[in-house]
């Protein structure tokens, strides 16, 4: 099924042709990327196109679902059951997974994965969001680090961390959260600049 020239149904059951350009403009509008004349022109199109408006609402609702899932991740009550599955999902792997998903979508649809968002498949999409979340929890990390270091992934919540990787001789890896406080580093004469 091709995305280009796809027939969409407006709220009254009338089919309206969407072209690729419209899809792109819709996403750009949704992402706040349209400005100036292009923005005003598209807003006029939205006013006159119930189908476009419906698609926009769908995009927004899916964004809400995704945000709700993300906020659910941070809920303390959920943290214990999922425990340490979160570290398996670093940003790089998530990005790779999303790229992979886009690749699949492209393979399946012949279009960029992002455009599939516009499809009016609300319930399916919600299920897919949930499925993605489940997959994220269950994924087992195994990045293909060629150098084979001990630390494969880390999240320090934005704080600086010093990692002293073992070269095989010492048999030790040090992961040091830098807080600028006492008892560490060159500020006190240690061998490492941890300020």
């Amino acid at each position: 099924m091709s995305e280009r020239g796809d027939n969409r149904f407006d709220g009254f059951g009338r089919a309206e042709a969407f072209d690729e350009k419209s899809e792109q403009l819709l996403h750009a509008y949704h992402d706040g990327e349209l400005q100036g004349r292009a923005l005003r022109r598209f807003e006029r199109r939205l006013e006159s196109s119930p189908a476009l408006t419906k698609e926009l609402e769908l995009l927004r609702s899916m964004g809400d679902v995704a945000r709700e899932l993300d906020s659910a991740v941070a809920t303390p009550d959920l943290w214990d059951p999922i425990a340490l599955r979160l570290p398996a999902e670093d940003a790089r792997k998530t990005q790779e997974r999303e790229q992979s998903a886009r690749g699949w979508l492209s393979w399946l649809t012949g279009v960029d994965g992002r455009m599939a968002l516009a499809r009016p498949l609300g319930a399916v999409a919600v299920a897919a969001v949930a499925a993605l979340a489940v997959a994220r929890w269950w994924a087992v990390p195994e990045p293909s680090f060629a150098q084979g270091g001990v630390v494969r992934w880390m999240d320090s919540g934005g704080r600086n961390v010093m990692v002293l990787e073992d070269d095989g001789a010492s048999g030790t890896t040090v992961i040091w959260l830098l807080d600028g406080g006492s008892a560490e580093g060159a500020s006190l004469g240690g061998s490492n600049d941890v300020a």
Binding site: A66, A91, A128, V150, R152, D167, I175, L177
Partner: protein, 161 residues
């Protein structure tokens, strides 16, 4: 000799996009994310955990922390080291073990895979760092965590199997 890396990591969940047709290939997606099979010959991983406190206040080096001190003193300056907790636990694959730290935080550890390159550990030092580590048998991993009692809380992990 150790190699030094310094970096800042950032948490956050990437926005979910491109979802409309995910359900169509959901089985494929989930299959790709399924846990890797465990090494059958390993029944469990022993994990030694030592929780210590270091400080720049003059004091003794706790004999129980001698091994950590040997590894750490060349890299980090401190004048005293006290061992606060020692634990020896058995980890089954994908089993989460948790213990309470002196600063009322918790340490959570899970082994998710074991192979020739070592055991893959998911470690969460609550409030400090979450990390995935591929650790060889007997390798010592030392975490310098949050400030604690005019010093720093240090957690060392040593998996054996």
């Amino acid at each position: 000799m150790m190699s030094h890396k310094r970096f800042e990591t950032r948490s956050g969940v990437t926005g979910v996009r491109g979802l409309g047709l995910l359900a169509g290939f959901l089985p494929v997606f989930l299959a790709g994310a399924a846990p890797a099979p465990a090494a059958a010959q390993v029944q469990g991983i022993g994990l030694g955990v030592v929780v210590s406190h270091i400080s720049d206040q003059p004091g003794r080096i706790d004999p129980r922390g001698q091994r950590i001190h040997q590894k750490l003193s060349a890299q980090i300056r401190y004048q005293s080291l006290s061992v606060l907790q020692t634990h020896q636990m058995k980890l089954g694959l994908n089993e989460v073990r948790s213990l309470s730290l002196p600063n009322s935080r918790s340490l959570r550890v899970r082994a998710t895979d074991i192979g020739e390159r070592g055991v893959l550990l998911n470690v969460d030092v609550e409030g400090s760092v979450q990390t995935d580590l591929r650790v060889k048998n007997g390798h010592l991993v030392v975490f310098g965590t949050e400030p604690y009692d005019n010093g720093k809380l240090v957690i060392s992990l040593e998996p054996t199997w």
